[in-house]
Each structure stands twice: as C-alpha cells, then as structure tokens.
Amino acid sequence: MSAVFRRGRAEVEANLTPMIDVAFLLIVFFVVVSQIVEIESVQLDLPTPQDPASERPGEEQRAVINVIPAAGGKTSGYRLGSRVFTADTQGIEAMTAELAALYRRNPTLDINLRADRSTHYEWVEPALQAVSNAARLSGRPDVIARINLVVVRED
C-alpha cells in the first residue's frame, strides 16, 4: 500500500524560483537602463552622413548635451543630463558653469553633442563654445576640451 502511495505523491512540478529570480533581475535591469536612456537622450533626428568616418563610442565617462529642436531650425534649449538650459545668454552661461563644475570633478570627461539634422548651426555652435569656455573656466590645466559629435550610421 505504501508503494502505491509513493507513486501517487510523485507529482511533476517545475521549480519556479530561479525563473522568478531571473525575471526580476531582467526587470530591474530594464527599469534602470530605460531611465538612463531617457535622461541622456532626447528624441532627435541625428545626421546620417554618407560613408561616415565616425567611431563607435568608447567606455569613457561622458556627459551628453542635447540641442532640443524647435520649428524653423531653432532650438528651445539645451539639455545637459537632466537639466535644461534656455537658448539665451543666461542659459548658455549657466550651462558653461555646470560644465566647468563637471570638468573640475573629472578633467578627462568627454562631452557628447547631439543635435537634430535640421537645427541651424547658429544654435549648435553656442554648445561648442560653452564646452570650450568651460574647459578654461574650470581652472584645471589638464582639461582637454573634447566634444564628440553624435551621428547615426545607416548601413
């Protein structure tokens, strides 16, 4: 009788614990990554040059400046990390001060510049100027004002 019993108790069950562990890990990963992606990138139509001589991004520390596009090739402001600066003199100065503070913390910081393909150069250039000025304002002689112009490779 006991043998009959043993056979009856042997139910086939999947051990769900590892699967739930992995599923939770994946969820946490995607939650974190989606927030980072959202902070760093604004929805932009990046330039796509023909036969690009561009490089793949490395692993170096970087800050991202997004030139937020507006109608008529203008911009509604510059976004550095999660902060948005207006496209006037005050906004540019505030962004320069913020960049200088970043350079003081990390003199080898790379700045990525993302601008829409239709944005006019007069609105992109202030961001280049701000990075150049911030390197000088940081007061550190070891700072190299390096900016990375972000494009999309279409293969």
């Binding site: 009788m1 006991s2 019993f5 108790r9 769900l16 699967m19 739930i20 599923a23 939770f24 994946l26 969820i27 995607f30 939650v31 990554v33 989606s34 992606v37 990138s41 990046l46 330039p47 796509t48 040059p49 023909q50 036969d51 690009p52 001589a53 561009s54 490089e55 793949r56 991004p57 030139v67 090739g73 990525n112 601008a115 829409d116 393909r117 239709s118 944005t119 006019h120 150069y121 007069e122 992109v124 250039e125 280049l128 100027q129 990075v131 150049s132 390197a135 000088r136 190299i144 004002a145 390096r146 900016i147 990375n148 112009l149 972000v150 494009v151 999309v152 490779r153 279409e154």
Partner: protein
C-alpha cells in the same frame, strides 16, 4: 456436509477485518494532513512579472546605431609651440541653400577648384593630403582645416563637411563661429 471454506458466513466471521478498509482511511487522513502545507500561489505574480518584463523590453530603446566624431576644441590660454611655423588653415565655407539632399553650397577659400558636392570635397582633400601622394601634397595630415558654416546652415551639412575631412584622414578639423 459443507466445508468450512465454502461457507460464506464462516468466511465473513473468520476473516479479520480487511486492512484495505481500515488502514487506507487512516493513512489517507494522515497523508492529507501532511500535504496541507502553506503554499504561495505564484502564478499571478509570474503573470505580472512577465508583463512588466515585456513592457520594459519593448519600451527600452538602445541607441545602437549612434557613432561619434571626436573634435578637440581650441582652448584659449594654452601655450602655443614657439617653434611651430604658422600654417594658413584651409577654410571650407558651407551654406544651406534649400531643402532636400542637394540644398547646399561648398566653397574652399583660396585658388582651388571648387567642389560641387561633399564627395568632391572629400576627393579634393584626399588627393592633396601629403602622405597620400609620393611627391607630397598640398597639406599635411595635421594641417588645420576650419569648417565655416553660415548662420542658417543645417547641422547635417556641417557634419557632412566634417565627415569629408575626417574621411580624408585629416586630424586637425575645427568649426568656426557662425558668420
């Protein structure tokens, strides 16, 4: 005479109460008690976890196609090399003239053949780069190239000009302030 074995009454009286009747009930009851464990029904949780997983998988957009051009900006206040001979930079003026792919003009300042497209600009720069030709070209690889986009130049055209110089393997390319 009837044999005692064939008498059903005898059978009923003499046989001990069958184990099958008593024992299983006892064991089954015990068994039921042992199976009554406190368990968590994880099905609903797994449903939600997978829904969340699919949502974040679909919502997360990786910018895998993004690449970059490295541009070292000029810094005022840096000591210049006193032994370096002054070199006249090559200035490339870009202007957007209209919408669409071909809505731009390129002008190289100086007595050069003017390119009509970014491909021609690239070919001009590559042809005249020193290391490219055995007899020596017009420009060294680190010859300063300044791209001068007009005020209303679209960023894509400024980048196209930069790309032409970078493709021709020049290393000292900068942007001028807008005019």
């Amino acid at each position: 005479m009837t044999s005692p074995m064939s008498d059903p009454q005898h059978l009923r009286a003499s046989s001990t109460p069958p184990l099958e009747v008593i024992e299983p009930t006892r064991v089954r009851r015990r068994h039921r008690r042992s199976r009554a464990r406190i368990g968590l029904n994880v099905t609903a949780m797994i449903d939600i976890v997978f829904l969340l997983l699919i949502y974040f998988l679909a919502a997360t957009e990786f910018k895998l196609g993004e690449e970059l051009y490295r541009l070292d900006l000029p810094q005022r206040g840096l000591a210049a090399d006193p032994f370096e001979l002054p070199r006249d930079p090559l200035r490339v003026v870009i202007a957007t003239t209209g919408p669409g792919e071909g809505g731009y003009t390129i002008r190289i300042r100086g007595p050069y053949a003017q390119p009509g497209s970014f491909q021609e600009l690239y070919e001009f720069l590559r042809r005249n780069r020193g290391a490219e030709t055995a007899v020596g070209g017009l420009f060294e690889q680190d010859h300063p190239i300044i791209i001068e986009p007009a005020i209303a130049t679209r960023w894509e055209h400024a980048i196209d000009a930069f790309n032409a110089a970078a493709r021709a393997r020049y290393t000292n390319i900068t942007f001028a302030p807008p005019r």
